[in-house]
């Protein structure tokens, strides 16, 4: 692969770089948890590390926090190499998974904990004022003297956030902060986290395995696999121009068809699918004729019709789920297998709705398919 040349993670578009990973690797015994990470984080940015568990995203975060030292490479915060700088000396704060709030302290004492560690000491009135502001920021006024165990999960989440932002860190690290919340609360907190980030202008670095969370909140998403960065880009970049099959599968839902490249011209590849049918698609990155590839087509880009021509795929409707503005069809092609189609309401009014068992034709615009490396 084009390792070394491919470093868009270094490009922050001219903005000030607040933190940087330079060739950072971390080894735990025989396990390489982080493998040559290169990444620059711009001031005020909201960046997410996205990947399955064990992909090294938490290790990357812990190296920024100061809980782990890199085996190789350099970690920089605000221009200084901090490889061996102890966590308590870094201008960085973390919102822990399951919050790690101090059970023996009240809400206000938890939030004020970081401020009380400052030397020279801050005046008590100043601490009280900052704590009050932080409580207001997370809408927990009046909860100062509550005990942590008297708070709901969502409230504890807010306390954890307030405890971190009250210190005005240069980097705020969030380790799966919403994982313990139920779906509705998670949605609300996503919006709130974004609002708070914009209001305070603090750089947020989020670790998550939830693609929706990463895509909806972040300016840039860094997709990781097996200790390596697979691709860094804006959510839209990753959605429209995934670098390979892994990234496409991680960002949004999509249908994959296996095939072999028949020919390439000007970024457009013709691929012979396993049933012998030829389809064309955009080759996001270079592919060679004869290469085994994956054709990715998003469900919303596939259309169904009872009357389309011979060059389309003949499918049978297996299942239909009405979602309001969309209807989701699970369809089956005899040799290509099952795939999803998302039909907008407007198309349904035109032709359809279809029923389970209907035999239809499925097709898509030539530009809608992406030809991707199999990795």
């Amino acid at each position: 692969m084009d390792k070394g040349e491919y470093t868009p993670g270094r490009d922050t578009g001219g903005k000030k770089i607040i933190a940087e990973l330079r060739g950072v690797s971390k080894r735990f015994g025989a396990v390489l948890a982080a493998d040559d990470l290169n990444l620059a984080i711009a001031e005020g940015e909201f960046l997410s590390f996205l990947g399955p568990s064990g992909c090294g995203k938490t290790t990357a975060l812990r190296m920024l926090a100061g809980f782990e030292a890199p085996t190789e490479g350099e970690v920089l915060i605000d221009g200084e190499v901090v490889n061996t700088l102890d966590a308590h000396l870094r201008p960085v704060n973390m919102v822990f998974q399951q919050y790690a709030l101090f059970p023996h302290l009240t809400v206000a004492q938890n939030i004020g904990y970081g401020l009380k560690q400052r030397r020279p000491r801050l005046p008590k009135t100043e601490i009280a004022e900052k704590v009050a502001n932080a409580l207001e920021l997370v809408q927990l006024q009046g909860f100062e003297d509550r005990r942590i165990w008297e708070m709901s999960g969502g409230q504890q989440q807010r306390v954890a956030l307030a405890r971190a932002v009250v210190n005005e860190p240069k980097l705020l690290l969030l380790d799966e902060p919403l994982a313990a919340l139920d779906r509705k609360l998670r949605k609300e907190m996503q919006i709130e986290l974004q609002n708070i980030q914009r209001r305070l202008g603090i750089t947020f670095i989020l670790v998550t395995h939830d693609q929706e969370e990463a895509l909806s909140m972040s300016d840039r998403v860094c997709i990781m696999r097996a200790g390596k960065i697979e691709q860094i880009g804006s959510p839209q970049d990753l959605y429209d121009r995934p670098r390979n099959r892994y990234v496409a599968g991680f960002v949004g839902s999509t249908n994959f068809f296996d095939g072999k490249v028949a020919g390439v011209s000007a970024q457009v590849a013709t691929v012979t699918l396993s049933n012998g049918q030829d389809v064309t698609g955009e080759a996001v990155h270079d592919v060679r004729p004869g290469q085994d590839v994956t054709v990715s087509v998003r469900p919303e880009q596939i259309r169904l019709s009872a009357t389309a021509g011979e060059d389309s795929l003949q499918v049978t409707v297996l299942n239909r789920i009405f979602l309001g503005e969309h209807t989701e069809y699970l369809v089956r092609h005899d040799s290509l297998g099952e795939f999803l189609v998302l039909a907008p309401r407007i198309a349904e009014l035109n032709e359809g709705p279809f029923n389970t068992g209907d035999v239809l034709r499925a097709f898509w615009d030539p530009g809608a398919a992406l030809v991707l490396e199999n990795t």
Partner: protein, 283 residues
């Protein structure tokens, strides 16, 4: 079966035990303590405060108990805490189990045998002989308060280690990371997070050891050699040697009352520390 009958049935075994083995004997002791010694020992019913007026005669036993029990508890705490901390926080899982077993192993042998071992170690041909070899002559260890202190700390250390170990082991280690992340040094993290959260373990261990030490008999008898004796030794002497049951009962009742008062005060202190952990955390 109604809820009420079921509750009574559940409580019956322990309740009966409690009544027969604790309430009844304590009542007997209390009644005897107001009586008189018979001409040939034993007990003659009476109502007099004479036995209580006589308590200063056993002042030495009370003094030894009231000094050595708290000092022994404190010494056990000071030795047990770092050990429990190492076992719970620092030791690798592989070593943890083995070291925990090593802490329990002495319990497999009778305290009597272990105390005899100390008689030899602290006796003339033990540690003092070694000290004499490097020129420190005439050190006397056996039959001193120090020997008794060594014996009780040795004997009761596991009872202090385990509750503290449990409270430290249960401590969420991410709290320590959170504290460090928020700018606290290791020492401040210990004082502000680890110590307050292990307070329940300290309280339990100290109470266990303290209560047992207040009633200790064997170790002062063996390592104190009749020179350093506890209230427990005085009681054996009064009941079995001088057969003065009335006076023995008065001494026993006084010990129970002292224990009740000190345990209550201690519990108050602990819950106060618990409620105002803000102050503890800012030490």
């Amino acid at each position: 079966m109604t809820q009420r009958t079921r509750n009574l049935l559940l409580l019956a075994p322990a309740g009966t035990w409690f009544l027969v083995m604790l309430i009844v004997p304590l009542t007997v002791v209390l009644v005897f303590s107001f009586g008189e010694r018979g001409a040939s020992g034993g007990y003659v019913p009476a109502f007099t405060l004479e036995q209580y007026a006589n308590l200063p005669a056993r002042w030495a036993a009370f003094k030894n108990t009231l000094i050595l029990a708290p000092v022994g508890t404190l010494a056990a705490l000071v030795i047990a805490y770092p050990l429990a901390y190492y076992l719970a926080v620092l030791a690798s899982p592989k070593w943890k189990t083995m070291l925990l077993v090593l802490v329990i192993v002495p319990f497999w042998t009778s305290i009597l045998i272990r105390s005899y071992a100390w008689i030899f170690l602290l006796g003339g041909r033990g540690i003092p002989a070694l000290l004499a070899m490097i020129g420190i002559e005439d050190v006397r260890l056996i039959n001193t308060p120090f020997a008794v202190l060594v014996g009780i700390v040795y004997g009761y250390l596991p009872l202090m280690v385990f509750p503290i170990f449990v409270s430290l082991d249960r401590l969420d280690k991410r709290l320590l990371e959170a504290s460090s992340d928020l700018g606290a040094t290791r020492i401040r993290t210990f004082l502000q997070v680890t110590l307050p959260l292990s307070l329940p373990g300290i309280a339990t261990g100290s109470l266990l050891v303290f209560i047992l030490l207040m009633g200790e008999y064997l170790i002062p008898a063996l390592l104190g050699g009749g020179k350093v004796f506890f209230v427990g030794n005085a009681l054996v002497d009064l009941f079995l040697q001088s057969r003065n049951w009335a006076f023995g009962s008065a001494v026993a009742a006084t010990l129970v009352i002292i224990m009740l008062i000190s345990v209550t005060l201690y519990m108050r202190l602990i819950s106060k520390l618990g409620a105002q952990r803000e102050d503890v955390s800012l030490m």
